[in-house]
């Protein structure tokens, strides 16, 4: 249980970092932390204490095995995270070229 709570704390740190930090690069790091926390959470969901990898073979007798489904999901989720991060970095670089700053407070050309 404590592992799940640590995982949610990590997630909250990521969300905090993404929403509150002023620097665009720190926001991107926050997104990364958030993604990792989620991935960890999914892996924990599938984990069983003292179990083996779910590989079927004649010579191996498996009594209990970890749930392989979350691991497959996380592979997909990591790829999605990579895509989002790459796009975010690309946009941040372009923003730096236009505004000459990473500080979100100075990037305010949109009217309210």
């Amino acid at each position: 249980m404590s592992l799940y709570i640590l995982c949610l704390i990590l997630f909250s740190i990521g969300v905090y970092c993404l929403l509150v930090k002023k620097n665009l690069v720190k926001k991107i790091v926050g997104l990364g932390i958030m993604d990792y926390a989620l991935n960890l959470f999914f892996i924990l969901l599938g984990y069983r204490w003292n179990s083996d990898a779910p590989i079927m073979d004649k010579n191996i007798v498996i009594t209990s095995f970890v749930d392989p489904l979350p691991q497959a999901l996380i592979l997909t989720s990591i790829v999605i995270g990579l895509g989002v991060t790459a796009l975010m970095v690309a946009i941040a670089v372009r923003i730096y070229e236009k505004y000459k700053t990473f500080n979100i407070d100075e990037i305010r050309r949109l009217r309210e």
Partner: protein, 492 residues
């Protein structure tokens, strides 16, 4: 036949950049053809549904184990909406996208967006839905920033940050379900949630889904990104964002999770109704003071989406029909208005209403079609917006939600005032201003606007056939609620 809705756009997204190296026009024609094919198949899916709910098991693995795609009434409605607007926007892009240096990438992203939207609508698996939702989101972040001007990049970054938080919340909600019932098939989750899952966990994941999808849909406490992102995008993309993206990855996905998986009840009804009233009122109040045409339209999107969720939140059959019909109508007239704004910007270079004048003579097609759309959004009979708003108001009175009904009427009046302002400043008022010498938009842009205006008028005049063919099956799919599980698992 169901995977065709994902295969066509995904395939053309792959092929467009390749064939564009030979000749750019082949890429354009290819993406337009895939849009047309999707439109054809989505309209014919109305007839496929006549034999009952359809299910396709990917790779031959039957539902509780494999990923499945499902077609019910709500899915058909979303497919039709997405592909009508998708085709019109692609047609419009043929002229509009010529201003961009890497036009082939624009079409690639557009096809990816269509693949994501169709995938969200047709998926029967919760994680698969999430993947398609992310494809849609990434394509729309990139398209919002496509002009790479300072404002566009800023809007896209803002959208990206909030979109990423929303996606994370949705994924966390999916994780909660996975941990509780060890399955991801929506029908199977729905069936398993009845047995042996603590109500607290269901409530917690419902809250996560509600927050995540509400950010994607732009309901009022979560709307901060929308008025920046929608106006900054290229005009056809704004039409897609306001017309279908917020509805598919926001409203449709939310309804699917709440109605089909968790089960609709009085608490959700209360939340939907108040979120709807807030969105309607605050959206329109923010819109009335705007002078930027596209920004004004974006605030009106917040307000009109409020009608949809309010109608559905009433929970009565009439309310759900009204809400879904308004979803259909709003996608038609709001896309049309964004295309109008795009063609004004195309020929005059301005979006500020106070800098425009007397465009009625110079741009007759844009002017007349925008009049149709303005009257529709304001709810003037016999245009389509009138009927859906009327149904919602009648349903609200029947459900004894008088505050909501009065808000609907007042918001409608303010909307009318706001669009009279648009008509007056942009088209009727005459000054010797900056907009002198404006020309009418090119052929394909005109065709696309005429197509949508025609559909707006038709949906208004023949609203009963539209209700019978499209909206009623969708409302029945929502009203079936948790019967969704039996329908899908028992489908051939």
């Amino acid at each position: 036949m169901l995977p065709i809705f994902v295969i066509i756009p995904l395939g053309s997204a792959f092929l467009v950049p390749l064939v564009s190296r030979i000749r750019l026009s082949i890429g354009r024609v290819l993406s337009l053809c895939s849009g047309a094919a999707l439109l054809f198949f989505s309209v014919s899916s109305i007839w496929w549904l006549k034999g009952g709910v359809k299910m396709y098991a990917v790779g031959g693995w039957r539902p509780p184990f494999g990923i499945c795609m499902a077609l019910d009434g709500l899915t058909v409605l979303m497919l039709v909406v997405v592909n009508i607007i998708g085709f019109a926007s692609l047609l419009y892009s043929l002229d509009y996208a010529k201003r961009y240096t890497s036009e082939s990438l624009y079409y690639t992203l557009f096809c990816l967006l269509l693949a994501g939207l169709n995938g969200v609508a047709i998926s029967g698996d919760l994680f698969n839905l999430f993947v398609f939702l992310e494809i849609t989101s990434i394509a729309s972040y990139a398209l919002v920033a496509f002009g790479v001007e300072a404002e566009e990049l800023e809007a896209s970054f803002k959208y990206l940050v909030l979109g990423a938080v929303a996606s994370a919340l949705i994924l966390l909600g999916i994780g909660m379900f996975l941990g509780a019932v060890s399955t991801l098939n929506m029908a199977d989750i729905s069936r398993s949630l009845v047995i042996s899952v603590s109500p607290k966990l269901v409530l917690y994941s419902a809250a996560l889904f509600m927050a995540g999808f509400s950010i994607k849909a732009g309901f009022v406490p979560f709307h901060a990104w929308l008025p920046d992102a929608h106006p900054s995008a290229p005009a056809p993309m704004s039409a897609m964002l306001s017309g279908v993206v917020i509805k598919t990855i926001g409203i449709y996905a939310l309804l699917r999770v709440i109605f089909s998986i968790i089960g609709f009840n009085a608490a959700f009804s209360e939340i939907f109704i108040w979120m709807g009233i807030l969105s309607m009122a605050i959206g329109v109040l923010l819109a009335i003071g705007q002078w930027d045409f596209k920004r004004l339209l974006a605030y009106h999107s917040v307000s009109q989406v409020g009608y949809v969720i309010f109608g559905i939140g009433l929970g009565t059959p009439l309310g759900i029909i009204g809400g879904l019909f308004h979803l259909f109508n709003h996608s038609l007239f709001k896309s049309l208005l964004f295309l109008n704004a795009g063609s004004i910007e195309y020929s005059t270079g301005y979006r500020q209403l106070d800098k425009l004048d007397g465009l009625d003579e110079a741009m007759p097609v844009t002017s007349r079609t925008s009049l149709v759309a303005s009257l529709s959004i304001a709810g003037i009979p016999p245009f389509c917006g009138f009927w859906s708003k009327l149904i919602i108001i009648i349903a609200a009175i029947q459900a004894h939600r008088y505050a909501g009904a009065v808000t609907c009427i007042l918001v409608s009046v303010v909307t009318l005032a706001s669009f009279l302002k648009v008509q007056k400043y942009a088209f009727i008022r005459k000054l010797k201003g900056a907009a002198q010498g404006a020309k009418e938009a090119p052929l394909f842009m005109k065709l696309s606007m005429l197509l949508l205006a025609f559909l707006c008028i038709m949906a208004g005049l023949f609203f009963i056939p539209v209700l019978n063919a499209l909206i009623k099956p969708a409302a029945e799919a929502l009203l079936a609620g948790k019967d969704y599980a039996n329908l899908i698992l028992g489908a051939p």
